[in-house]
Symmetry: C3
Subunit: 161 residues, 3 copies
Amino acid sequence: MTNIESRLATLGLILPPAFAPPPGMHLPFVHVRQIGNRAVIAGHGPQSPEGPLAKPLGKVGAELTLEQGYFAARLTALSMLGSLKRALGELDRISHWVRIFGMVNSAPGFVQQPAIINGFSDLILELWGPEAGAHARSAVGMAELPFGMPVEIEGEVQIAD
Amino acid sequence: MTNIESRLATLGLILPPAFAPPPGMHLPFVHVRQIGNRAVIAGHGPQSPEGPLAKPLGKVGAELTLEQGYFAARLTALSMLGSLKRALGELDRISHWVRIFGMVNSAPGFVQQPAIINGFSDLILELWGPEAGAHARSAVGMAELPFGMPVEIEGEVQIAD
Amino acid sequence: MTNIESRLATLGLILPPAFAPPPGMHLPFVHVRQIGNRAVIAGHGPQSPEGPLAKPLGKVGAELTLEQGYFAARLTALSMLGSLKRALGELDRISHWVRIFGMVNSAPGFVQQPAIINGFSDLILELWGPEAGAHARSAVGMAELPFGMPVEIEGEVQIAD
């Protein structure tokens, strides 16, 4: 077992299978686009370990509490790691996290987006440590997200030679 | 005629001229920023073949139906291809699509952003095919977009050596 | 004194110190992530010269006028330049601006996001000139931003060898 995956196992965390869109919806894009040493990552949302979108759906500050939003961002990290594992073969190939763009489906007046996206950043730093795991980040409030997802996150990582 | 442009002609599609901002408005940025093999693309909106913003303006789910939103995203692709042609000389220089960030001006409760941005992705894949045309993508709901545009899309492509 | 910093001094502009988050909030990310010649920049907001978020907070088109929004975007540029100076040592190491993603906390119906983000672009172009300062840009309307900031901007620059 590789380094990152043994840490995931120690934490009792499971990477979900690829997200299957609702019947009749096609999603004509790739979850990870590798160009040289860059892996550019599509927007991901919170998946349950079995694959479907995790509940509850809705806006943070209305249908979701801050704690539920934090947990949704953590599940979004696991969804993204699942995509990266399938695209790269081994998560240990990621030498540097680069950029995270964290989008929070925000009820009017909800302005604690950073506290939500911390659910993503905290897990990445726990797994990769403060050097490889460091990333530039934005955490912002969206009017709506697909399917009513509470969080969507895209980003980029660097792959070792 | 080059490869991509002959496909555009076969489909009866026309690239619009550069977008002229409303009188009194200055837009102090470039539509395409080339850095080595990367071409980073500014946010584009739906242009009519003659150049002005395409009608209708407004929010998808209110002023625009899903079908009108899809078509606006397709027109946004043509606007972006016009900018890329002017910046690169030939669209055939694009070896890989990399990243698409698709923003939908969304009425409250509208959560089908992916179905709108498919109007962009479907055309790119039709023109470049599944390998060169593959791209990482997000499709998200904005509170407002400039001038009331229904769609704005930015992205990045890779240029052949 | 270096080139860019002497221009800042001539304009009477001061780079603020690093932003200190409110007590009890941790922000587990870096303001600038350097990968080779790329410097990827986290989301920044308007800081006062002393360090705290600049007032007024709120939405452009409601709590802030267009002129106040433009000035907030200019302060956001100074916040970002402060981070770049601390990360890179010298602002003169920036050889090319690449990408700017400008987010405006927008009151319903406010659609002049480009006129706001011009407060950022105009300063960058004044400091770096039309070649090095050129950048691809989006300027879009967000539902909410952290702490009620009127503007948040992320981006990327290229570093000279």
